[in-house]
């Protein structure tokens, strides 16, 4: 498998659509599931590397502008995102002497410059002010220290105000570092902002929408004007309006845009349009890792033994640990499809088939080295993996993913996991809601993790149009008694957001009709050989991604039966992929869209002065285009997987996924609540 993947993933950015047809026969015929792991077609969509280079060089420039040796004080929440655009260790070249975390407490600095690099958060401003005062009080031998504050992505009035109130604004040189879209993978851009959904939907603070609009404008500067912007949701509408506002502001940086010849449109999905999806337990490999181990800024914390075998020479693949981080047991490992081909192969698979996929890779490795053996389960595989030598990288990747799979496997075998999954699936299918509520309550009585129990209830409220007052109050009462009364504000906030409400509710309740009109529940799903995006939840198709299909793959919603192009088994090795149809707005789904609360967006953008002629001679009709899907408020790994799967179903259209951040149901709910109470004295 991966040997045949090699040429395609290292192939240049050539756009040769006929290759995908030519390549199909080379796919091994071991099983039909080659579809799910289909080689990334040679057509890879647009090159997002520019954005990374932009972010990297901007940082270096900012640092170089500050003369002399510097001590860098770094906002912890920025370490991950920065690690994605530059190797933090390389900042030494910019005369960065030492790097510390931004935490309250005195500094011990010997350099001429102190540079704080942080998000514009008020609490951080107070810490910085305190540190500035301390440094000023400290008599310095090496002359006055120069204080610089680099705010990401921009310096806000609020920060200036706080610094002024603290009396240090005049002593600080306040600068901005515009860090916007970070390419996490070549088909995935993220703003890596935290708690966006809370800000927008709960607090009514549209700052993330504004930042998103700026980032999308920058994107258009690089790749041209989106010929069409589609979207669903009130916040999506506000974002589209803002983009239009920038566009028509006449600001020099937004002038003279040409219509893009690489991108055919932007689809904005407002998270508030689809809360159901993140509430369900993600069932892809990436999704499971995020739900149960946690992926932050593309990195996962793992037992070092999983990457470094205890005995042989260690070869750390990647670590963004800072010099000052205390040595912890867990180690950060960056999951990257370009460095780890095995990961690229399995990240979007339904977890149910990951084990067998890994064992097949192991067997192939084994075949490569001759030692034939029959591997029955993960444990045997692991033992086996320890034995084979050579091909260190591949072996190492296999060890890592086998190890991670081994951690996840027992979770999927628990009663708790399976009961909850069943309840979720019954709820999205609209089947016997009350029975599911009892299951959820039973989980609660067993003191199962609060987030899962709450996700279940929210799912019930969303799919059932609320929960009867009596049941809801009993649930809440139990919830507070089991997990603590400090969750009460969270429950109120969920009510405010319409996520946990009493029935009959005044809110619109489109769930039952959507289930049908958008085929949200698919019975004949096949985890191993997906024939529909619903494989990511083993039978539930994310509404968010279905909406994208309404625009880009109308057939896949309308025709579900066999004999259509949706049957991958028929297609493999034989016919070429069908040509993607051009974007024609929401046509055909107007009623469906109208039934979902929130505004519907459909804007055609035209470049001024009729510019936008394709100059590179690429034939647009034959060629390929990229559709950008922007998730405002964050997206899940399952949604990413579904869109990636869709990229492989037609020829002529790739999806570029952009998001404010990557979320899951648990961290989403956590962000809606207060911080846990502090320990009492």
């Amino acid at each position: 498998m991966s040997s045949s993947a090699t040429p395609s993933s290292t192939a240049g950015p050539s756009r040769l659509p006929h290759l995908s047809a030519g390549q199909a026969p080379t796919a091994p015929s071991t099983s039909g599931d080659s579809e799910s792991t289909a080689l990334p077609p040679p057509d890879r969509g647009i090159d997002t590397g520019i954005l990374k280079e932009l972010a990297r060089s901007a940082l270096i420039e900012k640092l170089n502008d500050i003369q002399g040796q510097k001590t860098l004080i770094l906002d912890k929440s920025l370490a991950g995102p920065l690690g994605l655009v530059t190797d933090i260790a390389l900042l030494k070249n910019q005369a960065v002497d030492k790097i510390f975390w931004l935490e309250s407490g005195p500094l011990n600095v010997a350099t001429r410059n102190i540079v704080w690099l942080c998000r514009p958060k008020l609490s951080l401003m107070r810490t910085i002010a305190e540190q500035v005062r301390q440094e000023q009080a400290r008599a310095s031998s090496s002359g006055p220290v120069v204080f610089t504050l680099l705010l990401v992505p921009r310096a806000t009035e609020l920060c200036r105000k706080v610094l002024e109130d603290e009396g240090v604004a005049g002593d600080l040189n306040i600068q901005e570092y515009k860090l916007e879209f970070i390419p996490m993978e070549e088909d995935l851009l993220s703003l890596e902002m935290d708690d966006v959904a809370r800000d927008i939907y709960l607090n009514g603070d549209d700052t993330p929408i504004y930042y998103s609009s700026l980032a999308l404008m920058t994107f258009q500067r690089a790749y041209g004007l989106f010929p069409r912007i589609l979207g669903k949701g009130d916040a999506a509408k506000r974002l589209a309006d803002l983009m239009w506002r920038h566009q028509s502001s006449g600001l020099p940086e937004y002038r003279d845009f040409e219509s893009s010849d690489q991108v055919d449109g932007l689809i904005i999905i407002d998270r508030s349009v689809d809360w159901v999806t993140p509430m369900c337990t993600q069932l892809t490999y990436d999704g499971m890792l995020d739900e149960y181990i946690g992926i932050n800024n593309g990195s996962i914390e793992i037992d070092p033994a999983l990457i470094d075998p205890p005995a042989p020479t260690p070869a750390p693949t990647s670590t963004s640990a800072l010099p000052t981080t205390p040595v912890v047991k867990k180690r950060k490992h960056q999951l990257s499809s370009s460095k780890d081909r095995l990961y690229a192969e399995i990240r979007d698979l339904n977890f149910a088939v990951v084990g067998s996929r890994l064992s097949r890779v192991a067997r192939r490795l084994e075949g490569d080295y001759g030692g034939a053996k029959n591997l029955k389960n993960v444990r045997e595989m692991k033992e086996f993996v320890g034995k084979i030598g050579g091909l260190q990288g591949e072996q190492q990747n296999l060890r890592l993913h086998t190890g991670l799979t081994e951690q996840l496997m027992p979770i999927t075998r628990t009663d708790e996991f399976n009961k909850m999954l069943e309840a979720q699936q019954n709820l999205v299918a609209g089947y016997d809601a009350m029975a599911q509520l009892s299951t959820i309550e039973e989980m609660m009585f067993q003191q199962s993790a609060w987030s899962g129990v709450l996700r279940g209830a929210v799912l019930m409220s969303l799919t059932n149009g609320g929960i009867k007052v009596k049941n809801l109050e009993a649930y809440k009462r139990d919830f507070l008694q089991v997990y603590g009364y400090h969750h009460l504000p969270l429950l109120i906030h969920l009510q405010t957001l319409g996520l946990l409400v009493k029935s009959p509710s005044t809110l619109p309740h489109p769930s039952p009709s959507l289930r049908k009109s958008l085929r949200l529940v698919v019975d004949d799903t096949n985890d191993a050989v997906p024939n529909d995006i619903s494989y990511v939840y083993s039978g539930y198709a994310p509404l968010s991604v279905r909406l994208v299909q309404c625009v880009t793959q109308k057939n896949s919603i309308l025709s579900a039966g066999p004999g259509t192009t949706d049957d991958p088994a028929q297609r493999t090795g034989k016919s070429a992929l069908p040509q993607a149809h051009p974007i024609a707005g929401w046509r055909g789904f107007e009623d469906v869209l109208a039934s979902i609360p929130g505004a519907t967006v459909d804007i055609r953008q035209k470049a001024e002065g009729g510019a936008g002629v394709a100059v590179d001679g690429r034939d647009k009709a034959e060629g390929s285009t990229t559709t950008v899907v922007f998730f405002l408020g964050g997206c899940t790994f399952t949604e990413i997987a579904a869109l990636r799967w869709m990229s492989k179903q037609t020829k002529g259209r790739k999806f570029l996924i952009a998001t404010t951040g990557i979320i899951n149901g648990t961290n989403l709910l956590e962000s809606f609540g207060d911080r846990p109470p502090v320990a009492l004295s």
Binding site: Y210, L251, P677
Partner: protein, 847 residues
Amino acid sequence: MTILPSPTLSWDTIQNVFYRKEEVYQMAWSIPDLSDYLIAAARNGGPIAMIRDERKVMLLGKHTPGKPKIHIYTAAGALLSSLTWDLTPPILMHFTSTHLAVVSDEGTYRLYDLSNPQQYTQHTLGSEASEMGLVSAKGYDEGFVVLTGGLQFLEVAGWKGGRVTPLAGSSLTDPPTSWAIIPPDQSSSGHIEILISTGTTIVTLDALDRIDQRISRGPFSHILPSPNGRFLALLTGSGSLWVVSADFGRNLSDVSLADVMDGDEVGGIPDGAGWCGDNAVVLSWGSKVVVVGPSGDCLRYDYPPSVHLVTEPDGLRILSSSTSDFIQKVPDSSLAVFSPGSSHPAATLYDALDLFDRRSPKADEIRSIRADLASAVDMCIDAAGREWDANWQRRLLRAAQFGRAFLDLYNPSDFINMAQTLKVLNAIRYYEIGIPLTYAQYLLIGPSTLISHLLSRNLHLLALRISQYLSLRPDPVLKHWAAAKISRSKGVDPSERGIGEDEGLCRVIVDKFEKEGDRGVSYAEIAKKAWEAGRVRLATMLLDHERRAAEQVPLLLQMKEEKVALVKAIDSGDTDLVYHVLLHLHSSKSPGDFFAILDDSSNPQLTPAINLLQVYAKEGDRRLLRDFYYQDDRRTETACLEMQEAGEAVEPEERVGKLQAASKAFGEDKERLFEAKMVEDAHRLLSFQLAQERELDHKYKFAGLSVDQFISRLLTEGFSKRAEKVRNDFKVPDKRWWWVKLKALAGNKDWDGLEAFAKSKKSPIGYEPFVTHLLALSPPQPAQAASFVPRCDPKIRADLYVLCGDWGTAAEAAGERKDKAKLEQLRRSAPNGIAQREVDEVIRRMK
């Protein structure tokens, strides 16, 4: 060859180097003697300012009574405006691109807007300057330097009231005989430096240091840096002109002034001195002007009765009572084409055109320069740019065009650009406009500076046409035009203004902008001008056309249109802008007024601002938040805030108090009775936990546990009575109670207790959890687990036994139910050995 009035008529040589002097204008002024005036002229063909030099003795009757006046003329001597100067005598007049700066000897300076010279801003240089007075001052593009009576140099960076910073101590005891500024872009340090002639040496001074250059030839009457900053011309007291490199490292020439004067009766220190480009030094004594070459050769001119020299980057302007002349080293391209006997291909090309025009077959000579034709064409184009006379320009361009015809491939853009540029230059050189800008100067300053020069002369139409002709953005012109239009109406009494005049003016401006302007002309600046001119209504109207809220909002706040500012900020979607307004309002209004402005009950548009206020206040100003909630009757929010603060409280008593407050706040909203009850319970729980801690002599820590955790803890520690009490007090449902107790007892490995509990009554959660939970412990307890299997549903007993690892009993259980299928399944899945045999045994017995 026919004799044409050749351009070389104006040429002269100094040691084989050609210089040319052209009369550019006949002056329109009638000033008998320039030496009666202090004169300042802007570079690059800019205007000229003069004021009567008070130090000069006046003939009776020549003196004009009243306050002295500053007259501003074009370079062609046409009066532009006259200003009354009512301060102490000026020591410096200096033109910036848009203003005339005049510095008085008491340290006050004024900036006159050239486009509206009656308007000025006045600044002072601080107490030292005003007490000690100023000795002298010199300006450069970005600011100026003054020497105070206390012999301290002060630097003023930027003309518009920039900061005054003292330079390093000069250690002077007497005023220097001369000094000069080295601007930052020409100094080696990148900061401003000055050169001071003191004693026999020259001292370099900057903000930090004073460096003696250790020169012994001083004192110097003039220190003149060349326009490009690479050379210095020094006039020594002993009467010689010494030219050195800027770092004093290389001697370039040393000429005795006595030789220069060639026995002329005038002598001594020259009245005027300047650089002619970077090529030669020009000195003047009275009416005599001498261009001095490196070895002492010179050119002499006479302009009775007096002259004023203006150094230009590529030459020198000589102003006299009657003319404005321009002298420069002949540019290379002109030299190539016109120099006598030039063998340059350009000369051949030019001659060929001449011959062609006269239908001479010799024109065919052009073929002899085939290889160099392209460079000949380029040269002719460039030479065209260097001529003042349009006839010559045309002729040279024609020569270029002629040569082009013989070239296969030639990019015409240079040709077109030159033709365009000359059209512009000729237009502005026209004497009525009077800007004698050379091609070299034009290249140096660029078209946009030219435009701003034209704007400072209020030549809007010309500026607009030139902008359009050169495809520049017309915005600056339009903005300036509109501002001028508004300020012209300033003097009019508002009551005399006709009805609808604001509308009219606004419409005129908007129409013009839309017709001539590019998309995105900013109206905010114009609106600001209108506001400053006291036309608030017009300002508001104009501001409505502004598309960028970031531009609108600050002005609206200044105009006290707070509510409008807030709405505009919200509309912009830029939350930071909203905060800008909010913070402004918060600091400038009383709390009552502040909240009144924010009242969104009447205006739902304001909701986003209120949301943002809460976000900010939650982090930055809790008191403001409480006040806001209170005045807006937001009980739920108040309660949630109390809850949040309860969670942040470290002191138990404080947390109890916060919970009580939260419960009270919820209770005031009848929609929140459930929440009020819940918080009441939270309060009760914490109080009870604290009481129990006290009762048990603080050996245990209960505070902060949830109900279930608390019960579990009490059971684990063996306080089952207390646990029962909590159960009853908080009406814990049976199912939950059973789960908690099961887990607590199992965790304690209290098997007897577990057995007793299981028997105490029929378990509401069944007995299966007993089995599964015991197996899930680590280490698992299969034996204990198996003991609960008989209490479970018979149907699943076999499977549960299997989980406990007891295959035999599992088979028995299946056998009791005569479940053959199950038995068969057991047999298949049982591990080898005893387990399998036990299953087989049961199967055999069944038969």
